[in-house]
């Protein structure tokens, strides 16, 4: 094969090199080495890669079944997202992401650009009440930059916190870190996208806490946050004071507390989601037999409420399988984070663990009524290529960190 020559500098040959790296073709791509203790496992962190592949396959299956009943859900588009995400992940894997450790300023700028992008006239697209998408010129694909912003924020926070090497002893530094986190958070809130904002807040907080922030500061910050949120909710409900929360967000909170307050809107959605999950039973109704999603009772069955669809079709067994795959992914990442020496790498991994944990908690939680309804996608499963690409890129990042774990930055 012509691609066997790594010295070939033509673009085609470089692409070939990446594939070589992936172990798909070329000298290192032998199946035996892949499973053995060859170079392949040295470069790929299988405990994260395998659950990812299974999750993606599971997700495609669920989206395909959703596409049977929901016109909007296109399995081809979802597959395109997987392909794009895999390519992006492969790119990242080749690159040593540890070089981002000193690039806080650049990361901050990129983060800001990403969050502001949808606001640029001619580029931004408003859908579902928020200006959160941009249309990529030429391809015409809609993309949600805030999803990508999650990764950038992880790097931004990780690189900022890593400087203190696990001990943040000056209040000034702590405040600076919190302020840094507030930048993307506030920008995303005005889109308005409270869901993604909360993800950023949680992953940022996890990085700061794991990065060695003083316990007392953290406690005070949380207390202030709680007070602030209470104040925001309060002013939003009193006429004459600024209404920071949108009325639909207030209603979602109210519905979370008592679903019967809005039996036709969010309360209805929650009720239908719970019925979908509960009626799935032990083994579910089978692919294509989900009446809640199939007959249109369950709204957004392929996106926000995809877990309800999955539970209805595959039952408790299917739901547990999904959670098991997620747990595998998360704890494999955690085990890597514990073993790796670099604080920066640790904190990047911490950010991802926090992001996944929170997104799973929120997305699954809202389907079963233990979290308020917000539009957060279920990683690898929900329909939508922005999320899929982003999540696969995260996995690419982990693979890159694994591949370069021994080398010094």
């Amino acid at each position: 094969m012509a691609l066997d020559t790594p010295q070939d500098t033509s673009p085609l040959a470089q692409l070939g090199n990446w594939f070589q790296g992936l172990g798909v073709v070329g000298r290192q791509g032998r199946l035996g080495r892949m499973l053995g203790k060859g170079r392949f496992t040295k470069d790929l962190y299988l405990p994260v890669l395998i659950p990812t592949i299974l999750l993606v396959a599971y997700g495609l299956l669920v989206v395909w079944s959703a596409s049977l009943a929901i016109e909007e859900a296109s399995i081809t588009r979802q597959a395109m997202g997987v392909v794009l995400g895999t390519l992006a992940a492969a790119l990242i894997w080749r690159y040593d992401v540890r070089s981002l450790v000193d690039m806080q300023t650049a990361l901050l700028i990129i983060d800001i650009v990403l969050m502001v992008m949808p606001r640029i006239p001619g580029l931004g697209v408003t859908a579902k009440g928020m200006t959160g998408w941009v249309r990529i010129p030429l391809i015409g694909l809609r993309f949600q930059p805030s999803e990508l912003g999650k990764i950038v924020t992880i790097f931004l926070m990780a690189s900022s916190v890593a400087q203190y090497n696990g001990r943040i002893t000056r209040l000034k530094d702590y405040v600076k870190l919190c302020a840094t986190l507030l930048v993307p958070f506030m920008l995303i809130l005005v889109q308005p996208d409270l869901g993604t904002g909360l993800v950023l807040l949680v992953l940022g907080a996890a990085i700061i806490i794991c990065g060695g922030a003083k316990r007392s500061w953290v406690l005070v910050t949380i207390a202030l946050l709680v007070l602030g949120v209470a104040l925001i909710v309060y002013t939003s409900t009193v006429d004459g004071l600024p209404h920071i929360l949108k009325s639909y967000q207030l209603k979602r909170l109210a519905v979370f507390i008592d679903p019967s307050v809005d039996p036709t809107g969010d309360g209805y959605n929650l009720q239908q989601a719970k019925i979908a999950v509960g009626s799935g039973g032990l083994i579910g109704k089978g692919i294509g037999n989900a009446t809640q999603a199939g007959e249109g009772f369950l709204p957004e069955a392929h996106t926000d409420f995809v877990f309800a669809l999955l539970s209805e079709e595959f039952g408790f067994v299917g739901a547990v399988l999904l959670l098991a795959l997620f747990a595998w992914l998360i704890f494999a990442t955690l085990s890597f984070a514990i073993r790796v020496e670099s604080p920066f790498v640790k904190l990047v991994l911490v950010g991802m663990i926090a992001m996944w944990t929170f997104q799973i908690l929120e997305n699954v939680g809202m389907c079963i009524g233990i979290m308020p309804i917000t539009g957060i996608p279920l990683p690898f499963i929900s329909y939508g290529s922005s999320s899929m690409v982003t999540q696969l890129m995260c996995v690419g990042v982990i693979q890159s960190l694994w591949r370069h774990r021994k080398k010094s930055a």
Binding site: Q163, G166, A230, T237, S342, V364, I368
Partner: protein, 678 residues
């Protein structure tokens, strides 16, 4: 919305609590790491791996605990939803998917004793439309033009979901054949519109026996709220159902109401029918056969009208109201029950208009919805005298040989309390029997006085109660009145705001009661029962309208009514002899003009007139009678409000009823106007 604050706080705390836990763990389990390292800020150069901070491990473990607890919480909730409560959710999902569309069952008919239909069903051509027609303005306008209705009314009818969203919506009932033809020919113009044959109540005799039969209407919210859905067999109503609301329609609602047909359909989230499932055909309600005889009923109503017209021609211009009850003395069957004025139950079909309802419930119209035969309460007047006589005999107040003298003015309680007999010129010498025949008030004043001073001062009331006065007869109709037998206890409580002296039971109360005036209140049905008791020598059957219930689908009678004795008034035969003799005398001896109206009947009649005196109003005219005298079969009680003397108007209704029964119309022209017998 303030109540949101607390739960929100809890929610936020719950989310961050686990993060806190991680932080806390980091400080405790990472033994070597301490926060108070003091001023040193080891600023690592670009996150080099040279000086790893061991505190990381415990903090990461904390993060792992956080993640694990998230999974644990989710699993726990999923366990409870999908394994523990799965059945409930599955049922909810099933409920989402299916709707039951009902088809109405025809109500049972109401028949007279000979099987003549008093209330039946007729099919009515009904224009129905599916819900989406309302969105097509052009179609709505076309339909409105065709039906002669305003477009907005058509639209509103289609949007009305009271029959259920999946059912067709009724736009117009009783449309003409030509309208149906137009709809058929131009069906392409009217997608979603169709014509259905539905059943509606029909009243072949229009107003006849309207208060007995009652009417139907849409089920009320009160009934819907109060129904007990826990009982398996009971009918469950839903919005828009037709139910009986008065009379027999109400009394035998559970029998007349059929069982609705049910069609289970599968729907999607938008309510569109996606598939059909099981069908249960509707079961019609059972027929109710009444003891009412349409012939006698008609005779009673015509007779009542005759009596009212007679009263009016006698100068009682305000006379328009009255009641007739005809009972079978052998078993208590109600053969006819008339009440004037009447109304047309057909007004209630498809919902009565507000104007009509206001009219029907107005005083000016004479409250036509009221069944005066059971709910009208009047003073009995002299018709009570036979009962008083029996009571006097039984209590030893009088004997068949007691003699009285009537001078026209009675001063038994002293000059200051003098009372007139209705015949101011006086009846002269009287016995108990002739006292009834001539309705001599003085005889009964004496009896009243004797009771007042006797050992059994309430013996008269006891006898009245024994004959069923003061309590409901239990006839199978709603809203029966119970009347009133006044006594000392009643007077004291009724006039509780008056002085002790005014509330005390006086001799005058007793003499008033003895002639049926004052505070005594009876219903025409109660009086009919009293005369049944006199005719039967004590046996009063429970008056009833139900003869039997017939199933429409099966054959024959499902349930036949078994007559039962309501009261058995045990008295000495000689007492009944005397009273019966006396009431026969009322007809044939007291006045020639009265007798003239009865002599041509093939049977002997016994009866008693009555004239209720009310201040500021014309007298209430009473007549109670039974026939044949020798073997009593029919009891007739008539009251005519503001009809004058008993013989003046009520007599004509009694005579007309007997005329119909014995096919022997009244041919006498003798005027009873001068016969002012009370």
């Amino acid at each position: 919305m303030d109540d949101l604050l607390l739960p929100l706080l809890i929610g936020v705390i719950a989310i961050v609590a686990l993060l806190l836990l991680a932080a806390w763990l980091s400080s405790h389990r990472g033994g070597r790491f301490s926060f108070d390292i003091g001023g040193q800020t080891p600023r690592a150069s670009g996150g080099s791996d040279s000086s790893p901070e061991r505190g990381f491990k415990s903090r990461l473990t904390g993060l792992g605990v956080f993640s694990a607890s998230v999974f644990a919480v989710l699993l726990g909730k999923l366990w409870s939803m999908q394994l523990v409560s799965s059945d409930e959710y599955a049922k909810a999902a099933e409920r989402n998917l299916t709707r039951t569309v009902t088809t109405d069952a025809p109500r049972g008919r109401i028949l007279d004793t000979n099987g003549t239909e008093l209330v039946s069903n007729r099919s009515s051509l009904t224009v129905v439309a599916t819900a989406d027609v309302a969105n097509d303005d052009v179609e709505v306008r076309l339909l409105a033009n065709l039906l002669g209705m305003p477009p907005i009314a058509v639209k509103r009818k289609i949007q009305d979901n009271s029959e259920g969203a999946q059912s067709a919506h009724t736009v117009a009932t009783d449309v003409s054949q030509s309208t149906v033809a137009v709809l058929d020919e131009h069906s392409y113009l009217f997608p979603g519109v169709s014509v259905e044959e539905r059943t509606q109540r029909s009243y072949p005799f229009d107003t006849m026996a309207c208060q007995v039969l009652g009417y139907t209407g849409s089920v009320t919210q009160d009934l819907l709220d109060s129904q007990d859905t826990s009982k398996e067999d009971s009918i469950t109503y839903s919005l828009g159902d037709t139910v009986g609301q008065a009379g027999i329609e109400y009394q035998y609602e559970s029998v007349l109401q059929g069982v609705k047909g049910e069609q289970t359909v599968y729907v999607d989230a938008n309510g569109n029918v996606t598939d059909y499932s099981t069908t249960i055909d509707p079961q019609s309600g059972s027929d109710v056969v009444l003891t009412i005889d349409a012939n006698i009923q008609k005779g009673a109503e015509d007779g009542l009208a005759h009596a009212i017209q007679q009263a009016q021609s006698n100068g009682h211009s305000t006379c328009s109201r009255g009641a007739v009850v005809v009972l079978d003395a052998t078993d208590g069957s109600v053969l006819a029950m008339a009440s004037a004025p009447t109304y047309s139950p057909a007004m209630f079909i498809g919902g009565i208009s507000n104007d009509d309802w206001t009219q029907l419930s107005s005083e000016g119209a004479g409250y036509p919805l009221m069944n005066r035969a059971i709910a009208g309460q009047y003073m009995s007047a002299s018709t009570i005298k036979p009962v008083v006589a029996i009571s006097a005999l039984q209590n030893g107040i009088a004997t068949s040989s007691s003699s009285y003298y009537c001078s026209g003015y009675w001063t038994g309680f002293g000059e200051a309390y003098g009372q007139y007999c209705w015949l101011h010129t006086g009846h002269g010498g009287m016995t108990l029997e002739s006292g009834i025949v001539n309705s001599c008030d003085v005889v009964f004043y004496e009896i009243g006085k004797s009771f007042y001073y006797s050992d059994t001062p309430e013996g008269m009331q006891d006898t009245m109660r024994a004959f069923g006065l003061g309590s409901k007869t239990g006839v199978d109709l709603p809203s029966e009145g119970e009347g009133r037998v006044p006594d000392a206890e009643w007077k004291a409580s009724y006039f509780s705001s008056s002085t002790e002296e005014e509330r005390a039971w006086q001799g005058g109360d007793m003499t008033n009661l003895a002639i049926g005036q004052g505070d005594l209140l009876v219903t025409p049905l109660q009086m009919a029962c009293v005369y049944m008791g006199i005719a039967n020598r004590g046996t009063i059957w429970t008056p009833h309208l139900l003869k039997e219930i017939r199933s429409q689908s099966g054959s024959g009678s499902v349930v036949a009514y078994k007559p039962s004795v309501l009261h058995e008034v045990k008295e000495d035969d000689s007492y009944y002899d005397l009273v019966q003799e006396a009431v026969k005398g009322v007809i044939y001896e007291e006045s020639a003009s009265v007798a003239a109206h009865f002599t041509n009947l093939p049977v002997t009649v016994a009866g008693k007139t009555g004239t209720g005196e009310k201040t500021d109003q014309d007298d209430t005219s009473w007549f109670c009678a039974y026939a044949p005298y020798e073997e009593p079969k029919y009891v007739v009680a008539v009251v005519v409000e503001e009809g004058g003397f008993g013989a003046e108007s009520a007599l004509y209704a009694v005579r007309d009823v007997l005329g119909v029964i014995y096919d022997s119309p009244d041919d006498s022209t003798a005027s009873t106007l001068t016969d002012s017998s009370r």
